[in-house]
Symmetry: C2
Subunit: 753 residues, 2 copies
C-alpha cells in the first residue's frame, strides 16, 4: 500500500521555455531569525536567493514555469474537499491526493513569486479542511490495519501531512495568529495525533510506513514549533507498549523489538553503507520522507546534525541507491521491486538535489540531475541547477561496489560487479523485511542496461486497477518470492527457509570476500548455511576482462556441501531466443508443470535432456548480442527447458523462459559455469559476428575443502585458471598448491591467470 | 539464398571527421564522349564535380574518408583469391564476397582521389581472377539449382559481376588495350556467359535471382560496349526454351510463362504503384540490381529512358518501399520478411540517392538520407549530400496509401491506413511468388513504430549459422506461411488455398474500396472469394479519429458468406500482457496443441472460455499503452487464449501469444471488432491513465447482402454508426436506409457518424 509516488510524481514537470518573473509586487520583509517562515524546506534566505536568480538558471526556471502553469489551472478550477469514502483509485482518494500536492506547490509559488493569490488559495483550502476535519470520523473503508481519516489508511494521511506542512510553512506569515490557532488546534494537531498516538500499530514501528508517519508529525511540529510533536517524531510515542508478535497486512512483524521513531527508522533499516534492507525499490519509496524531514530538521534544528547521523548514512544511502541502478538508471528489482522504476522518479530528484547541496556538491550528481532535467523548487534545487548552469557536471561513473546489509553492516549484503558494459548483481543479504524474497545467493546479469539473466521482480502491477486493484497479486507469494523463481539453488524443490518469513528473517548470508582491486578481475564470494538445514553453500562470481575473450566473462562457482543426498536445481532465467545447445533434448507434445508447489507449479516443462559431454553448452541471443552459458555437467544432471506461466489463471505472470540444471541424488558438488557475451547481430546488415562461444572446455581441476580450481580452455587453446581459497582468504595468507603437476602460488582469496 | 546485403553492407561507413584530399598528382585528361570511362555509375563529368566539391559536403566527405581508411587497410593486407570450395559463411565464399566489395570501392577511390595505387590494386586483383577463372570448373558444392564458379550459386557470381563491372569501368582507361582484351576474353565474357546462357534456369526468369543476373550481364556489357550482352540483359537469352513446370529451391515456378530479361523483370513483379509482388523485404533486396543497372543504362543508353519505363515504376517503387515502413523505418514484414530490416540498409541508401537525383529532387528524401547519415560515392550521393548541406530537407510524411499489386495493378494490393501514431497494414495482395504467405485479408497494427497486433514474419534467422545454417527453417512452411499464423480467418482449420502454391498463385484478393479523403476516416475494404472454395469474405478496416475517443480507433468488419456450416477462427496476435477480459475462461493445468496440422500443431491451448455477453472484451498492455479489443460474440464462440511454440523441437519459433475467436457451426456471419489504443502507464510515476476501454457496447444493427451497419455506444453514451455499402460503392450512388426507425442517407461506399 505504498502508492505515494503518484502524488509526488506530478510535482516535477519539464518545460523548455524560460520562465521570467513579471510579478511587480514589492518583496515582503521577512526577518531572518530562526522562527521566521518559511524555514522548513524553503528558507527565508533561500527564497531571497531564488528570487535573485530567477530567469538565469534554466532548469530551475523551466520547472518553475511548468509548476506555475499547473497551479494556475488548479486555482481557476476551484477548491474541492469531498467527504472521504473511497479506496485508492476512487474519486475522494484521488482528489485529496491531488489536493496535498497542489497545496505544497501553491505554497512554494507564493514564496518564490510573492503573489498573494497563491497564499490565499492555500489558506482557503486549509480552512475547508479545518472545517471538515474537526468532526471527521474514521475513514469508512475498513481494510487497513491502521485506518486514516482523509484516506483509508494512515499511510496516506501521513503523505498528506508531509506535503501540507510545507504549504503551511510557506503561508505561515501570511496568516493571522487567529487563523493559525484555528488551523493548528482543529486540523494539524489532531491530525498528527491520529496518525501517531491514536494509531501506534502504524506509527510505533521500524518500517517505511512509520517513516512517513514520523516525518509527518515531525514536519508539522517543526513548522508549529511544537517540541512535543518533534520529540514524538524523533523518538516515537513515549511509553507506548505494542504487541511484539502482531503482523501487518504484508505479513511483516509490526514491531518485534520495540524500536520506534525517526532516528530508529534511520538506525535500523540502513546499513552503514546506506543499503536499505527492503531493497532499492522500497528505498526509493522511503527516500522522500527520510530526506524531506531531514532537510527540515537540518534547517530548523541544525544542532541535531541529522545529515551526520549514523556517520552520514542518509546521504550515503543516496549514493548506494544510485549505484543500485543499471546503465539506464533503473533500479535492480531485488525483493519486491517493480521493473522500470528508475532515478527519474520524483523521489530521486529531491534525493539527488539534497545530496548535492548537503553532501559536498559532488559534481557527478549534476550529470544525474541533467538527465532528470528538473529540480525541486527550493534551495537544493537552485544549488544543483546553478551547478549545471556553471558547467560543473561530471559523469556519474558506476564501478563495482559491495554494499553491506544490516544495521551494523554485518548481515550480508549486495554486491555489484561491473566491467565494461556488463553488470552482475549478487544478493547475499538478509531477508529484507516483509518485501524480501527467498533467494539467498541469487544473481542477475545486465548488459548495456538490458537484462541478460533476469531477476523476476515482484508480481504486481502497481496502481493498475484491473490487475487485482493494483495490489500484490497472489502469485507474488506463490511465485515471485519462491527460490525457484530466482537464479539460485533450490534443494529438493523447496524454497529457502521453507519459504517462511519467521525463519528467513532470523538469518542472513555472509560475505566471504569481495575484491575489486584488480580492474580486470572483479570478484565476490558469499556463504549461506541456513537456507537449508545442514546444507552449506558457497557461491563465487567473477567478472573477468581477459584479452582472450571479446567481452568480460562471468564465472559462477556454486559449491555445495551436504551430508545427505539431494536434488539441486540451479536455474538461469535467460532472456532472448535459444540459438543452440550441445545436448539433445526431448520436446514435449503435451506440457505438464515442473512440480506442484513452492513455485514449481508455475513452471511448464517444455523439454528436457541429458548432458552429451562433461560440459553443457547453452547459447541464446538477446538484443542482438549472443550469449553462451557453459557449465560442468554430471551424469545425473537433467537439463530442463522450462517456462513461467502454469497455474496462472489471471495471466498475472510473464511467460519468460528458464534453463535449469537439475542435479539428482548428490551430496557435495560444485556447479562451475561461465557466461560469455559475444558478437552481435544486425538485422539491417543481416550480419552475425562472433556468434559462437570462445570456450573449448571448462573443468573443475580441484575441489577440496580448502580450494576450488577450474580450468578454462579457449578455442585457440589458451588456458585460464581460477582458484578460490575456500577456507582462508586473508590477504596475508600465502597459498601454494600443486594441481596436475603444476604449481600455483598466490596470496589471499583467489588466483587467476 | 539471398545474402547479398552482407556484401553491400560494409560499403557505407559513417565517420564524423572531414576528409580532405591531399593528392597532388595531376588530373588525367579524360575525353567527355560517350565512350569515355567511367561512364557506368560514376561518370567523367560527375567525377569532375565530385573532385571540385571535396571537403565542402559533410556527409559525402565523411563517407569518403571512411571508405578510404577501409580500402587502404585492405591494400596493406594484400590480395588473395582462393580456389572456391565453401558454402555461404565459409572462408572462400566470404573472401570472394569481400573482394568484390573492395574492388568496387577501390575503383571509386581511384576516380575520386586520382591516385594510381587504387587502380593498380584493382588491376592486380582482376588479373589474379583472370588467371584463375579461365580454367575454373563449376563450384564443387552441389546444393544449388544453378551452380556458380566463384560461389556455390550463380546468384553470388552475379553479385560479384555487378560490383566488379563498376570497378572495371573505373580503371578502364588506366589499363592498356591488351590488358583489357585479356580481362574481357578470359574473365568477363565467359563469366557473363556462365551466369546466363550456361545457366538459363537461373537467368531466364522473372525473379529477383534473375534480376541480379540480368544486371550483371548488362553492366559488364555496358562497360565493354558489348551490345550482345546488353541485349541479353534487357530481353533475356534469345530463343531459349525452358521447362514451364520446373520449380526452384524455394518452391516457386522457374518460369511458368516464358518471360525473361531485365525489362520483363521490371514489367512483371512491379505494380504500376511500385509495389513489388514478394513484399517489401525482398523488394529491398532486389532494389540494388534494379537501380544500379538502371543508373548505368541511364548514363550509357539514355535513349532507353529506363527511369521512365512503365511510367517511371522504378522510381515509384522507391516511394512505395519507403511507405512500407513503420515509424522507425522498419519494413512491414509481409510474406517472408525478417523483422528489423529497415531503410537504414545499404540498398536503401543507394535507392534514396538515386531517387533523389533522378526523381525530381524530392526534398522529403533528404530527411531520409539525413537519418541514413551516409551516401553513395557517386553523382547521386553528391547530389543528395549537397541538398542536405543546402538545408533543403523536409520531413518525409507518411500518409495512408493504397498500393496495387500485379503487373497491371489489378491483382489486389496492400493498404496502409495511418492516423496520428497508428498504422494499420492490410494485405489483400496476390500470392507474392515463392515468398508469399497464405494470409488473404490479414492485417497488422502498429503504434509509434511498435507492433500492437503483429504479423509473425518469416521463420528464419538470416545468416545466423546456428539456426539451420541461416536458411529458411522448416517452421517457415509449417508455421509462418500458414493462415492460422496470421491475423485473418481460417476456415475449418485449413489454410487458404489448402496452403498450396499452385492454387494460391492463380488467385488474388480484390480491392472493394479505399477512401482516405476524410482525414478522420481512413477506410479500406477488400474481398476474397477463392481462399476457401464457396466461401466469400469481405473485410473492411477503418481507422477513425473521433473526438469521443482518446486516439484513433480501429474498426474491423469481417463478413463471411458460405453455403455450408463451418468453423471460423479469427486470431489476434496481440503483443503485451493481458490486463482483463470480460469472460470467464478455464486455464489448463496441462497443455495440448490446438490441432495437428496447418499450423495449429504449433499452438498451445492455454485457456478457453465462452462469451459472457454479446460483446467480448479483451484488454492488454504493451509498451506502456493500454489496448482493448471489443468484438461481437455469438453463443457458439469459443474464446481461446493460445501461444505459439508447440512442436518446435529446435526452439525456432517465438513463443508469442494470440487471442482467437473460434465460431463454430456457422454459415454466414460477421465479426465486428474495435481495437482501442488508450491511456498509458508510467513505471516511473506508477501512474495508470485512462486504463479502461471507452466502449460500452458494439452491435451489428443491420447485416444484409447490401449493407452491414454497426453501432458503437461509448461509456458517455455517445452513439457512433458505421455502415458499409456491401454491393455498390460507386461515389455517385445514393443510399437511403432505415434501421431501427432511424434514417441514414449517404453517397458511396460508407457512412460514419
Amino acid at each position: 500500500m505504498k502508492k505515494n509516488t503518484l502524488k509526488i510524481a506530478g510535482f516535477f514537470l519539464i518545460s523548455v521555455l524560460i520562465f521570467s518573473c513579471n510579478n511587480t509586487k514589492s518583496t515582503k520583509d521577512k526577518s531572518n531569525n530562526k522562527n521566521s517562515h518559511p524555514k522548513l524546506i524553503l528558507t527565508a534566505q533561500g527564497v531571497k536567493e531564488i528570487r535573485a536568480q530567477l530567469g538565469s538558471v534554466p532548469i530551475f526556471d523551466n520547472t518553475l514555469k511548468a509548476v506555475k502553469e499547473e497551479i494556475d489551472a488548479e486555482i481557476a478550477a476551484g477548491i474541492e474537499t469531498p467527504i472521504p469514502k473511497d479506496y485508492s483509485g476512487g474519486y475522494t482518494h484521488s482528489k485529496h491526493k491531488r489536493n496535498f500536492v497542489v497545496l505544497q506547490k501553491a505554497g512554494v509559488l507564493y514564496q518564490i513569486l510573492n503573489d498573494d493569490k497563491y497564499a490565499k488559495y492555500v489558506k482557503d483550502m486549509l480552512m475547508q479542511y479545518e472545517a471538515m476535519y474537526k468532526t471527521l470520523p474514521l475513514h469508512p473503508k475498513t481494510r487497513s490495519y491502521a485506518r486514516g481519516k482523509l484516506f483509508w489508511q494512515c499511510l496516506n494521511d501521513s503523505n498528506w501531512l508531509v506535503y501540507v506542512s510545507q504549504a503551511y510553512d510557506c503561508i505561515y506569515n501570511y496568516l493571522s495568529e487567529e487563523e493559525r490557532n484555528k488551523l493548528e488546534t482543529n486540523l494539524f494537531r489532531p491530525f498528527a495525533d491520529h496518525i501517531s498516538v491514536d494509531s501506534p500499530q502504524f506509527y510505533q514501528r521500524v518500517h517505511n510506513h512509520s517513516t512517513w508517519g514520523n516525518a509527518a508529525v515531525g514536519m508539522i511540529g517543526l513548522v508549529m514549533d511544537d517540541d512535543d510533536l518533534i520529540q514524538r517524531a524523533l523518538y516515537g510515542i513515549k511509553d507506548q507498549k505494542i504487541d511484539k508478535t502482531a503482523k501487518d497486512d504484508d505479513g511483516g512483524f509490526i514491531n518485534k523489538d520495540g524500536k520506534a521513531g525517526f532516528l530508529a527508522n534511520i538506525e535500523e533499516p540502513f546499513s552503514p553503507d546506506g543499503y536499505y534492507n527492503e531493497g532499492p525499490y522500497y528505498q526509493r519509496y522511503a527516500m522522500y520522507p527520510f530526506l524531506i524531514f531531514a532537510e527540515g530538521l537540518h534547517n530548523v534544528k541544525p544542532e541535531l546534525k541529522i545529515f551526520e547521523y549514523k556517520e552520514g548514512v542518509l546521504l550515503k544511502s543516496i549514493n548506494a541507491l544510485l549505484n543500485l541502478t543499471d546503465a539506464d538508471g533503473e533500479f535492480f528489482p531485488l525483493n519486491d521491486g517493480q521493473k522500470g522504476m528508475s532515478y527519474y522518479t520524483a523521489a530521486l530528484v529531491s534525493a539527488v538535489n539534497i545530496a548535492y547541496k548537503f553532501g559536498g556538491k559532488n559534481p557527478e550528481l549534476l550529470s544525474i540531475a541533467e538527465k532528470q532535467n528538473r529540480v525541486v523548487l527550493d534551495d537544493t534545487g537552485l544549488a544543483i541547477a546553478k551547478g549545471i548552469k556553471d558547467g560543473l557536471a561530471k559523469p556519474f561513473t558506476k564501478k563495482s561496489i559491495n554494499l553491506s546489509d544490516g544495521k551494523n553492516g554485518d548481515e550480508g549484503g549486495v554486491g555489484i560487479l561491473r566491467n565494461e558494459n556488463l553488470e552482475l548483481v549478487f544478493k547475499y543479504a538478509s531477508q529484507g523485511s516483509s518485501h524480501g524474497h527467498y533467494d539467498k545467493l541469487s544473481f542477475s546479469l545486465y548488459e548495456n542496461g538490458n537484462e541478460v539473466i533476469q531477476d523476476y521482480g515482484l508480481s504486481r502491477f502497481v496502481n493498475i486497477e484491473q490487475k487485482g486493484g493494483g495490489n500484490y497479486l497472489k502469485e507474488n507469494k506463490t511465485w515471485a518470492k519462491q527460490s525457484i523463481a530466482h537464479n539460485t539453488l533450490s534443494v529438493n524443490e523447496e524454497s529457502h527457509f521453507k519459504g517462511k518469513y519467521e525463519i528467513g528473517s532470523k538469518h542472513h548470508s555472509n560475505l566471504y570476500f569481495y575484491d575489486d582491486k584488480d580492474a580486470n578481475v572483479q570478484i565476490i564470494s558469499a556463504t549461506e548455511v541456513n537456507a537449508y538445514s545442514g546444507t552449506e553453500m558457497l557461491r563465487t562470481f567473477a567478472l573477468i576482462k581477459d584479452k582472450d575473450f571479446e567481452r568480460p566473462i562471468t564465472i559462477d562457482l556454486f559449491k555445495i556441501n551436504s551430508p545427505t543426498k539431494n536434488q539441486y536445481d540451479l536455474p538461469y532465467y535467460y532472456l532472448g531466443h535459444i540459438m543452440k545447445t550441445n545436448f539433445e533434448y526431448e520436446s514435449y507434445t503435451q506440457l505438464e508443470t515442473l512440480g506442484t508447489k513452492n513455485g514449481y507449479q508455475h513452471l511448464w516443462k517444455e523439454a528436457s535432456g541429458k548432458p552429451s559431454t562433461d560440459n553443457t553448452v547453452f547459447s541464446w541471443k538477446n538484443n542482438n548480442i549472443f550469449y553462451t552459458l557453459t557449465t560442468t555437467s554430471n551424469n545425473s544432471d537433467d537439463l530442463i527447458l522450462s517456462r513461467i506461466g502454469a497455474n496462472d489463471p489471471d495471466y498475472n505472470l510473464r511467460k519468460d523462459p528458464v534453463f535449469i540444471v537439475s542435479r539428482k541424488e548428490t551430496k557435495n558438488t560444485t556447479f562451475a559455469s561461465i557466461i560469455e557475451s559475444h558478437g552481435s547481430y544486425s538485422p539491417v546488415n543481416e550480419l552475425a559476428l562472433n556468434a559462437y562461444s570462445n570456450i573449448s572446455s571448462i573443468k573443475i581441476i580441484l575441489d577440496s575443502d580448502n580450494y576450488t580450481a577450474i580450468q578454462i580452455v579457449t578455442k585457440s587453446d589458451k588456458i585460464k585458471t581460477l582458484i578460490i581459497s575456500n577456507k582462508d582468504n586473508s590477504e596475508s595468507k600465502k597459498h601454494n598448491i600443486k594441481i596436475n603437476d603444476k604449481e600455483y602460488n598466490w596470496n589471499g582469496s583467489y588466483y587467476y591467470n
